[in-house]
Point group: C2
Chain length 354, copies 2
């Protein structure tokens, strides 16, 4: 995702804020207990691995709207990165994932440690997940702390606080819908899937960071509102395209198997489309198998294509991208920002292989 | 715990702040998704069941130090209650507890719902724990939000932010040590147990609320420092006494069996004392049994008494209480506050049956 925003490079400044934050946090943790330092190091590694996508959206909006306080912007940007860390660490707990990008995540690191100490598999798993609950709590609370360190006037502070609050409240709503979806025997509609994606990911990853950058640059409510709408729409398009990658992309490329989520009963737009078609019985039967062979995976893909679900999903992603670009041409959005944000649509089209 | 602080009653004001907070949060949640409203109602019930111990400490310190802004104090107090809610909800995830005070907690409520929808026991358990991770995140982030709503000057805001931050960072450290303790084959020393208790509970439950109330009343750093020290010490004494209740108290009174934690390999001061004695082999063997009979529980209690561990633990709780009361007589602490806080020691002595 990084290259899309390469022309406005706040990455150095964001890393400085995060490095300073973790240095302070690690020193305090070590003073409390040596064991605590390890957890903070683990959390720092989790944060270091990211592409800084959300913080760079903050910087992009701030810079292209003529904002003049890049230090405050980088502090707010870093807060959004910590929020992202918190959400992925807790999302991994919920998905019982022990790796991320091919390496042990927080839960995996402590699961391995418990296993090495002689814990049973079941105990080691739970030790890993418990530690990840704690680590996510630290990242989440420190997102609020970092935001409070931004040196801005009280009304700006209030608006930024509202945005961070909205982001976490929305992502928790989306995560809840995701967790509860498998309990519902009636298949989710495409609209329900889109609502879930928007709440779970688009608000905190696209909408809120763009709005925060604009608020830092002193933007009025109309501009902030339009940016938020653009962010939610392009972010939802991105998630739809991501479903396609999960199902049709190279597993080595995405770093995880695309079928795990589906097997857990989670719904995507792709699956919602397929669920209404004649191929669905066979697809569902294949997906329920715990150890899918390469041949069976290929069969699922062929059935998804034959059912028309793949094309419908591609069309949906393209439509949402177009809607997002339509928002971007509204007169309230200055030309420089429009030009700077337009490449974000490539995030979607690149994923669609277009 | 309530009656100890009954002479300074801020409970009504605290409840008003929390009721208003939940009304706003539920309205927003319902607008996002009807399902989300249920989770917020569940979170409100969790918060409603508490004794408001931490918020009342905030009010007590504020009022007895002559603070004049009870509305700001009640807002900060409510933030500490939300922090407490967040920590118990996530602690229940870590302990895999599905009930609290005899009723289903957040995890239990959603586990039951998943089971009723036909989920396997294992899937239903995980649905319950996942939902509780989300609910705890909401309570935690909103503790920061509520704090930011207190109408105070910037230096006071900064000091209050530092206190909330220190409270969550300490409790996460204590929780981590608690989670990792069973991995260590060498028994924890009493000092290690006390460090864990202090970090996990005493800082956020006693130290930080007292300090926050003092800061709201404009107290200087020396007074705040002494109050913090008093809070950590009396809070640690309280935890030691709590271990005794868990082992020797009436199960119906505490609402949960006292052996669950011990069976999970968690250490208490009581157990650390016993671990060095000749009775330990038999105690450990009995405790490891998954279904303890009433007769076996009685045998454990008798062995703990015979080993001297019970008396040592009683002495430790009494010593810590005395240390706390010694802090309270320092000249920096005004007489009214001294008189108001002294009854807190009854929290410990009452638990010791003294």
């Amino acid at each position: 995702m990084g290259t899309v925003l390469a022309h406005t490079d706040g990455a150095g400044l964001i890393d400085e804020v995060l490095t300073s934050f973790f240095a302070r946090s690690k020193a305090r943790a070590e003073a409390m207990h040596p064991e605590y330092l390890s957890l903070w190091q683990c959390l720092e590694r989790t944060t270091a691995g990211g592409k800084r996508f959300r913080p760079r959206l903050v910087m992009t909006a701030h810079d292209l709207l003529g904002g003049s306080d890049r230090v405050a912007a980088a502090t707010v940007a870093a807060a959004f990165e910590l929020l992202h860390t918190a959400l992925i660490v807790h999302d991994d707990v919920i998905d019982r994932d022990y790796t991320r990008r091919g390496a042990p995540n927080v839960a995996g690191t402590y699961r391995n440690r418990a296993a090495a100490s002689g814990s049973s598999t079941e105990r080691a798993d739970h030790t890993g997940l418990s530690t990840a609950v704690i680590a996510g709590d630290l990242a989440l609370s420190n997102a609020y702390r970092l935001l409070s360190e931004a040196d801005v006037d009280p009304p700006t502070r209030q608006r930024l606080g509202d945005l961070l609050d909205e982001a976490i409240v929305a992502s928790a709503a989306g995560e809840l819908l995701d967790v509860l979806a498998p309990l519902d025997s009636t298949p989710q509609t495409v609209d329900e899937v889109l609502t879930m994606s928007k709440l779970k990911t688009a608000v905190y990853s696209f909408d809120a960071p763009l709005c925060a950058g604009a608020v830092l640059a002193g933007a009025d409510q109309e501009l902030v509102g339009a940016l938020g709408e653009f962010g939610r729409t392009i972010g939802t398009a991105y998630q739809v395209a991501d479903d396609l990658i999960a199902a049709f992309g190279d597993e080595a490329l995405t770093g995880k198997t695309g079928w795990g989520d589906l097997r857990e009963g989670k719904r995507t737009a792709l699956i919602s489309y397929a669920a209404g078609q004649s191929q669905w019985t066979r697809i569902a039967e294949l997906m329920s198998r715990p150890d899918l062979t390469a041949q069976e995976a290929t069969e699922i893909r062929e059935l998804l294509a034959a059912s028309g679900a793949r094309d419908e999903t591609l069309r949906l992603a393209a439509d949402l991208t177009e809607q997002a670009l339509d928002i971007l041409v509204r007169p309230v959005i200055p030309q420089t920002l429009r030009d700077g944000l337009k490449p974000l649509s490539r995030l979607v089209t690149d994923r669609m292989g277009a």
